[in-house]
Amino acid sequence: MSQTITIDPVTRLEGHGKITLKTNDQGEVSEAYFTVTQVRGFEKFSQGRPFYEMPGLMARICGICPVSHLLASAKACEAIMSVTIPPTAAKLRSALNMAQTIQSHALSFFYLSSPDLLLGMDADPADRNIFGVVKVDPELGRAGVALRRFGQHIIELLGKKRIHPGWVVPGGVTEPLDSAKRDEILAMIPEAYANIRLALNWYKRIADRFRDEADHFANFPGAFLGMVGEDNGLEFTDGKLRLIDATGKILVDKLEAAQFDDHFGEAVEPYSYMKFPYYKPLGYPDGSYRVGPLARLNIATHAGTPLADIEVKEFKQLANGPVLGSFYFHHARLIDILYGIEFIERIFSDPTILDTHVRATAGVNRLEGSGVAEAPRGTLMHHYKVDENGQMLWANLVIATGQNNNAMNRGVLQTAQRYVKGDKLADGMLNRVEAVIRTFDPCLSCSTHAFGQMPLEIKLVAPDGSTLDTIRRG
């Protein structure tokens, strides 16, 4: 008999969502939906506000990646002002972005996903958390906590606050860096290297245990979007966008934020508040693509820092062409962290970083502006329109998680078809369905602008609509 399974709420994610699985008469999963159930409305209530307030306002969308919103927003504002920010400000902002990437990735990998990887997908849910990790492998747990603190502390040193720093403003940053803070940041670097090395070595040792998951966690041909630098290396803040297909062929290159709308559309589905962006020439849903750590490594030819370059080279050996399995988001995330530490070391070793000219000023010189930055979870785009006084008329945000929406839905179906069997739900099956979502590290609060914490429910629904079984957490 066919049925519907609902996982509501999904655990160990940022935000709040649910998963619905439908089975056919043979008990096989035939349909799967990842639903984001809240809406927030930043685009609406920013209307009428002066545009230069936007970075501070939009950063409130998220407590995990406020820096990405600050940067994308500030860059959209700078497009309205038509200014080029001072080079030192650009360097400081890119370092801030990497600090955030490190802390966010540390949260995703160590706090949210390492319990599955260390203890196993079928482990007792009571132990399958960061405390369980610390109990079994204290060194790994400690490295995760320390890497998160490393990123957060740099954000605090630069922006005065770990969460929602107000330091990034249209035109640059409010205050230059002093040498004491620079020295404090540089002093933290050796420990960060040791921690990420420990994590990378550990991941490579255990990755083979998850061969089956790697083959079935959203592993399919599809396009990837991300930012690259001028030398085609990794870039998180000031590069241009590139879209490649599943074979690695470049579909769009050197795309500026202002051209984003020309190439990408946003579809909506009745079951979710999260939008479904797609590449227009291929239409929806064929034009769906993935963003984030995996996409970035697939798109870039190399990292651009010595240690990460070696890791990227090894990563690219995983497949002939782009790595398509979303399980490898975890691996890519660790490489991002390593790259971030090297990048931060390089930025703060540069003596010009103490330059005091860090802000450009201008009024409204254009009535429309777009800004793009790589958030930890992928490409983030802010697009604003203002009146001649600089007051917001319209805003649209294209969020990283939204761009992975279609891939997450496909991944849920693929994973459920592999692991969910019969009419009785077992925790291990459902945990794998959740774990495929976790590989994307979605931030549902950002993508829908949702309230609340992220719990999960799985519901098993019969063809007649009756609910056969439900598991709810949170």
């Binding site: 002066p50 230069y52 307030e53 501070g56 990034v168 403003v169 249209p170 409010t174 000023t361």
Partner: protein, 241 residues
């Protein structure tokens, strides 16, 4: 006329004080290091007794009196802090928070706001009235300054400084009661008004209602003490010093 006839003696919070007959309770209290919280009052401007935060108890009077406009009298016994006053002051502060949209975290005046500081010093932990969440205009038409009515508490400092000190009288109040709003000229956009662009109103505004465009994102402390300096200079020049 003897000097003695102009001097009044009174008691504030149990302390015997003396004052000139033309002084207010607030002035005398502050001269004697007795703190009375104020919001619409500002040294250098006339007093209007609008915010009611400086209410004090006077022995023999059942009602509370705003100390900024209450003149001293011989033998008065004044209390500036009590449970009753605390209750009233907290309620008075809750009202502007409930009336408009004060969101400190994204306000340009965060950390430099008199309403915020008073909330802290008066022990305001929450607002008991339902928020009205009105949809109010932001006027960014001025080349240098912005007025955000969402953050205005109608203290009228801007109106007074513009009329009394700058002499331009660009600012005024339109409407009545809950619908009151500060306006420039005859409700024209600020950028098209007869504003002299002196910025005095921005400096005296206790909240983030009036702010400098260039300060968004940076700390935006205000320097209302320019008023007393200006007064001293003007008096000195009048007296030919």
């Amino acid at each position: 006329m003897s000097v003695a006839t102009d001097v009044k003696t009174l008691v504030i919070d149990g302390i015997n004080v003396s004052a000139r007959a033309d002084q207010t309770i607030l002035e005398v209290a502050r001269e004697n290091n007795i703190n009375i919280p104020t919001l619409c009052h500002l040294d250098g401007l006339s007093d209007v007794g609008a915010c009611r935060l400086c209410l004090v108890e006077v022995k023999g009077s059942p009602k509370l009196n705003p100390s900024c406009v209450l003149k001293v009298e011989e033998g008065m016994e004044v209390t500036t802090s009590s449970d009753r006053l605390k209750h009233y002051r907290q309620t008075i502060l809750e009202l502007p928070f409930a009336e408009r949209n004060h969101v400190c975290s994204v306000c340009v005046a965060n950390g430099h706001c008199e309403l915020q500081s008073l909330g802290q010093s008066q022990g305001l932990t929450h607002v008991r009235m339902p928020y009205r969440n009105p949809q109010l205009e932001v006027d960014a038409s001025h080349e240098r300054f912005v007025v955000d009515h969402n953050r205005c508490i109608l203290c009228t400092r801007c109106v007074r400084v513009c009329g009394e000190v700058e002499g331009a009288h660009v600012w005024d109040v339109m409407g009545r009661g809950i619908d009151s709003i500060v306006i420039t000229d005859l409700c024209d956009p600020w950028g098209e008004s007869s504003c002299t662009r002196c910025g005095k109103c921005v400096q005296v505004c206790p909240t983030g209602a009036l702010f400098d465009k260039s300060k968004v994102g940076s700390p935006h402390p205000k320097y209302p003490e320019f008023l007393t300096n200006l007064q001293v200079m003007r008096e000195a020049s009048r007296e030919g010093l």
